[in-house]
């Protein structure tokens, strides 16, 4: 059997294995956790910005930042449950 075909079949069997999916799941969860932490920091950041320079659309940014953080947290729960 040619070397190229053997390597390709090895890669394909690894990708379709449970180990690969566990690694992907762990990676996705890790990214989502980092995103959620960042989303929480953004809430504080927007609050500081809106307090320093007040405009009539500042509350929209604050609301958006809060919804973003809630969405990020919900995604972690969903990803942990569904994947």
């Amino acid at each position: 059997m040619p070397v190229g075909v053997t390597s390709l079949s090895l890669i394909t069997s690894f990708i379709t294995s449970n180990y690969f999916l566990i690694i992907i799941k762990a990676g996705i969860l890790l990214i989502l956790v980092f995103y959620a932490i960042f989303a929480l920091i953004i809430i504080k950041q927007v609050s500081s910005m809106a307090k320093t320079f007040v405009t009539n659309i500042s509350p929209i940014f604050s609301t958006f930042a809060v919804f973003n953080a809630i969405f990020a947290l919900v995604l972690i729960v969903l990803a942990a449950g569904v994947l």
Binding site: I24, I28, Y35, V54
Partner: protein, 185 residues
């Protein structure tokens, strides 16, 4: 509210503003400076469309990965787009310089959670220096304005603001410093 050069702006104020203090000029970086984050947002937005072709190019098929995982990766990609665009816009929108009849206020935000507010009373201003450089700066007429105050080097620096020479002129006018006006004697 989304302009970068606003004279006598309505419905905005800053922390520590006196009741009788009126904002005469609001400055932000020129909108063209937003191109980098807009570009990266578009690149990440296009990733899901290009991923199957790239995978195919490397002899790999995305159909081997379960759909739920692909959807999760798709959501992560759009979260990245969202965060790049939101952060980019926030930093552009809130990094402002305000000129009132009493002082100049330079508000700087930098990632992550850095806030700097520089104040310079107009009575302390000695000179201003405006610079326009580069192809974009010359073409779109934006650049930096440095304000020097008594007893300090450069107290305030406004970056990439529109019409820098005109801004420097307005500051000197407000400070009551005799000077040659832009575009005439």
């Amino acid at each position: 509210m989304f302009h970068s050069y606003i004279e006598n702006p309505e419905s905005c104020r800053f922390e520590g503003q006196n009741p009788d203090e009126k904002i005469l000029l609001l400055l932000r970086a020129h909108p063209i400076t937003n191109i980098p984050w807009i570009f990266f947002s578009i690149v990440f937005f296009l990733v899901p469309f290009l991923a199957p072709r790239l995978a195919h190019f490397f002899g790999f098929s995305l159909s081997l990965i379960p759909n739920t995982y692909l959807i999760a990766l798709l959501i992560i990609d759009y979260l990245v787009v969202l965060i790049i665009a939101f952060e980019g816009f926030l930093y552009w929108y809130f990094n402002v310089t305000l000129i009132t009849a009493q002082k100049i206020i330079d508000i700087d935000f930098e990632p992550v959670l850095y806030k700097g507010v520089d104040l310079a009373p107009l009575s302390k201003i000695e000179e201003t220096d405006s610079k326009t450089a580069g192809i974009f700066g010359t073409f779109f007429n934006f650049g930096n304005v440095a304000v020097q105050t008594a007893g300090a080097t450069v107290a305030i620096e406004m970056r990439n603001v529109p019409r820098p020479a005109h801004v420097a002129d307005i500051i000197l006018d407000q400070a009551g410093i005799p000077h040659q006006h832009v575009g005439g004697p």
